[in-house]
């Protein structure tokens, strides 16, 4: 590992200043991904600005019925929070479906969103990877890509985003709050991550030096029945092969709200807008769910060895839609 300068920030301003003053700096949160990437030589920061102790470790219920989760709230605390479990259960379930107890105790809300792909070509500095080293090529496109993207990939990159949490945030219409040199701003979680296009080295819309300060779950999705389901190679402690977060409301025999996001299918959580559109106002029948999900997944362009992901994701989505609407359909 390359040597680096270390500074602990006590405030957002201090953190942003310390970052700006040190070219090649990285912010350090829980470190579960960053420290690992430093050991692998993928990340070689000149300095670490430690933001893990910033006073962003609380979950606040806001007067309008939304919930603000601070960026340094640990994944395990987020998943256990009563308001999250009771009103946005898909988020709690998604967090608990990821990593291990130890890692969830360390990983932060902000860091989870900023974790890098687990593509083996990205993690191996001896291999070509446009995300790690722009212009070096993509080893995965014609190589080992069973775990890779089936939607929204490009000639330059077929990596997927590994987060479970981000999939639930995208489905639940959460917003990501940011702080930077130009002040504070926020973005929809579903638009925080990018598709790779010809710049796969850029994972998200965050600007250099910006810090995630929190995520906000809106009142609009509070209490809407929601769930997360994930398929993986072992029963626990593995990244998703496909996953889905669904929040669906039914009233008087029609779907009044539908929010669906797929995980592990693309470079970002894949919000299924086409499926949602056709479900709105429809009767919550198996046929309607199949039509909607098939319409969404018709955009899939599987690689040589990952076509299995399409029926897998389809099955997960149909199961969760049926389960969440079971009471309303009887």
């Amino acid at each position: 590992m390359k040597t680096f300068d270390y500074v602990r920030a006590d405030s957002l301003e201090e953190a942003a200043d310390a970052f700006a003053a040190r070219p090649g700096a990285r912010y350090l949160g829980g470190g579960t991904n960053l420290v690992d990437l430093m050991k692998l030589g993928v990340e070689r920061p000149a300095a670490l600005v430690d933001i893990s102790r910033l006073p962003l470790d609380t979950v606040e219920e806001l007067p309008d019925g939304s919930l603000r989760i601070g960026a340094t709230v640990r994944n395990s605390d987020l998943a256990a929070h009563r308001a999250v479990r009771d009103r946005w259960p898909a988020l709690s379930q998604a967090v608990l479906a990821g990593a291990s107890g130890q890692l969830r105790n360390a990983a932060t809300t902000g860091g989870n969103l900023l974790q890098r792909t687990r593509c083996p070509y990205f993690q191996d500095v001896a291999k070509p990877c446009n995300k790690r080293e722009p212009g070096s090529g993509c080893g995965a496109r014609d190589g080992v890509h069973r775990d890779h993207a089936v939607l929204g990939h490009s000639a330059h990159c077929v990596a997927t985003h590994p987060s479970d949490m981000a999939v639930a945030l995208a489905a639940l219409d959460a917003r990501v709050e940011l702080y930077g040199a130009d002040g504070a701003r926020s973005l929809p979680a579903a638009e925080f991550h990018r598709l790779p296009g010809d710049r796969p080295e850029v994972d998200t819309e965050i600007r250099p030096g910006e810090i995630i300060t929190g995520v906000v779950l809106p009142a609009a999705t509070a209490g809407v029945p929601s769930a997360y389901r994930k398929a993986r190679d072992r029963a626990s402690y593995a990244f998703a092969l496909a996953s889905v977060a669904v929040a669906v409301g039914v009233d008087d025999g029609v779907v009044t709200s539908a929010r669906i996001a797929f995980g592990a299918l693309a470079h970002r959580p894949w919000r299924a807008r086409r499926a949602e559109e056709v479900l709105l106002g429809a009767a919550p029948t198996e046929a309607a769910f199949e039509h909607a999900v098939d319409l969404e997944l018709s955009a899939a362009e599987p690689l040589r060895d990952n076509a299995y992901k399409v029926p897998l994701a389809r099955g997960l989505a149909l199961d969760v839609l049926a389960r969440l609407t079971a009471a309303a359909r009887t």
Binding site: F4, D36, A80, A99, N105
Partner: protein
């Protein structure tokens, strides 16, 4: 003290800083290279060999210790970022006396290991998991309709799920679950 500590002694510089860790109740002030992780400081500087280096990437759990009461992978924690933290390793579980912690005793009684390499991590992880369940933390296998905030009863499925971050290449899992069940009953 072993040679590694001597290698890492010396004044703070741009790439080395002072950090104070309380380990098993004893304070240690060390000047460490920023690159060093807690696991290496425990084993190389403090002669605490309980926590093991398996994968060194947070995937096997052999390095699990308790930091401020929570179980963490010590291989992924930069020592410099832990200034002021309280660390408990397997060596600190029995306190000052000779008596083993009840969970250590249960691992012996149940023969919950073969080679023993993963055992300190399994034990620290299980203690963290038991505390999390009592504090009402759900797991992937907890019924989503279970009342939030209430302690979660640990059946075998819960124990298996909560310990999934600790691999045992000997495959002693059934007896590890037995041992953990013994101390929660």
């Amino acid at each position: 003290m072993d040679s590694h500590q001597h290698q890492d002694e010396g004044p703070a510089t741009r790439h080395r800083s002072e950090t104070t860790l309380r380990v098993n109740g004893k304070p240690h002030t060390l000047t460490v290279d920023h690159r060093r992780v807690l696991l290496d400081v425990l084993r190389e500087d403090l002669d605490l060999f309980g926590a093991k280096k398996g994968c060194d990437h947070g995937q096997c759990g052999a390095c699990t210790v308790l930091v401020d009461g929570r179980r963490l992978n010590s291989c992924l924690l930069l020592a410099i970022a832990l200034d002021g933290c309280e660390v408990t390793t397997v060596e600190g579980l029995s306190g000052d006396g000779e008596d083993l912690h009840p969970l250590q005793r249960a691992f012996l009684d149940r023969d919950a290991f073969q080679c023993g390499y993963c055992t300190p991590g399994q034990i620290c992880s299980a203690l963290g998991a038991i505390a999390e369940a009592s504090a009402g933390h759900p797991s992937h296998v907890t019924d989503p309709t279970a009342p939030s905030g209430e302690p979660v009863p640990l059946d075998r499925d819960e124990i298996r799920e909560r310990l999934s971050g600790n691999l045992c290449r000997c495959g002693a899992y059934p007896r590890i679950v037995d041992a953990v069940e013994d101390v929660i009953e």
